[in-house]
Symmetry: C2
Subunit: 259 residues, 2 copies
């Protein structure tokens, strides 16, 4: 592991710490539903957290690119950080501690570091140089689970409402091949996949800052993450994401999604 990688990881952790401090101020804050969108707790938390992350990363790596969901930005040079301060705004709004702060570092078009942070439960997944660290008081071992067959798999997605009619039919095909489906979770569900609690996740409409941090985490846990065709995720992809804890089952998942 290079000194550079260790520096990247320390910066990402420091940034997530700062973001968490902002987010905790607004979580389950008394919500006036009539408040203007730009003054809502989730908006304030989202923007405040992203600004905090940007400040830390810019201080450590002033030449790196910074792209965030809230505040925009563009890639520049070799290294770019992709930031989603609150992945799962609906979960945040409804008081569920299953949203996540996502920080990824791209080396050109490849995510080389991924951090998934849940600042309320205190759970954090940090992956770089092929290694995954998981910390948190709820327990769990950072390793995907092997299965004998897809029929044993726990399938998950955040919400069936994320699919159009054609995608919904394909997801139903996959669901029919798996053991059970559970809903909710956003990026946090990929963390649970990396703990061997969930076996398959299929989602659509994800932006690069939604999936970039997930790739190093899932892969370092022994899983695989692709689009619904089984091809590597890319910045020019269609936004479909398929994460499989046991890579031997990827082909069966892709087949089921076609059916």
């Amino acid at each position: 592991m290079s000194l550079a990688a260790i520096g990247f990881a320390a910066a990402a952790e420091a940034a997530a710490d700062e973001a968490g401090a902002v987010i905790r101020r607004y979580f389950r804050a008394s919500i006036d539903v009539d408040v203007k969108e730009d003054q809502s707790p989730v908006t304030l938390a989202d923007r405040g957290a992203e600004a905090a992350i940007r400040a830390v990363l810019a201080a450590h790596y002033p030449t790196h690119g910074l792209v965030g969901e809230e505040l925009g930005g563009t890639r520049q040079g070799r290294f770019t950080w992709l930031i989603d301060p609150i992945d799962g705004t609906r979960a945040f709004i409804t008081g569920r501690a299953s949203f996540a702060t996502l920080i990824a570092l791209m080396d050109e078009e490849t995510p080389i570091l991924g951090l998934i942070d849940q600042p309320i439960t205190g759970e954090r997944w940090l992956a770089y140089s092929g290694k995954l660290q998981f910390t948190g008081a709820f327990g769990g071992r950072p390793r995907c689970r092997s299965l004998d067959a897809l029929a044993q798999a726990e399938l998950s997605c955040t919400s069936p409402d994320m699919f159009d009619a054609a995608q919904n039919q394909r997801f139903r095909g996959l669901a029919g091949s798996c053991r059970r489906v559970t809903y909710g979770g956003d990026a946090y569900a990929y963390g649970l996949l990396a703990l061997g609690q969930i076996d398959v996740i299929a989602e659509s409409g994800l932006k690069p800052w939604d999936w970039a941090a997930l790739v190093p985490v899932v892969e370092a846990a022994g899983g695989t993450i692709t689009d619904w065709a089984g091809a590597p995720l890319s910045l020019t992809g269609d936004g479909s994401v398929l994460a499989v804890g046991d890579p031997a089952l990827l082909a069966a998942c892709v087949s089921s999604l076609v059916a």
Copy 2:
């Protein structure tokens, strides 16, 4: 508040403490998917927790009836405890800390005490004699939220898969009248409704031990909980449940569910 009610509450809390100790042992335990159903972590946690709850309640109130999801039992005499040791087994299985232990005390056919406990996050909702206590480190104020209109409402249900085709169409009608839908949560979502984070929950297929504990919690928080027709929940009901944080919106919810 009567001394009897305080005694009931203390017994329910002691029972939940014991159940939590059992459940924490199995949460996110390394899961061998090939294990026999009756030796799976969730089965062991479910049965162990229910046995622990029964032991505490029987010691405090040997003449009360005890009815649990796992171990059965029948109502007897005036007071009966209804127990669901792990409401949300799918959440438990997938490592989500959004399942709950439910303990309710029925006075004849009326739930007079309700306890919702999340033993991983340490959150607990306890309602009796019209009062709600909420404890937990994630924040929140035990009071439902008022809205100007149903169009502002956050709607939730555990999974769309719980509905048959007719119910699904009715749920879609309600969803169309609300602001947003989120999925997941089981009984925990009713706790979030009692914190003013969720405004409406519509579900189906609930057994008495699934809903009895929710009634005192939701009502003490200022909300209302009925079946989909707006009628009080009863032991002979159809298993549909509609919880509304702002009772003034109940009629609009019932109308939307008919559409």
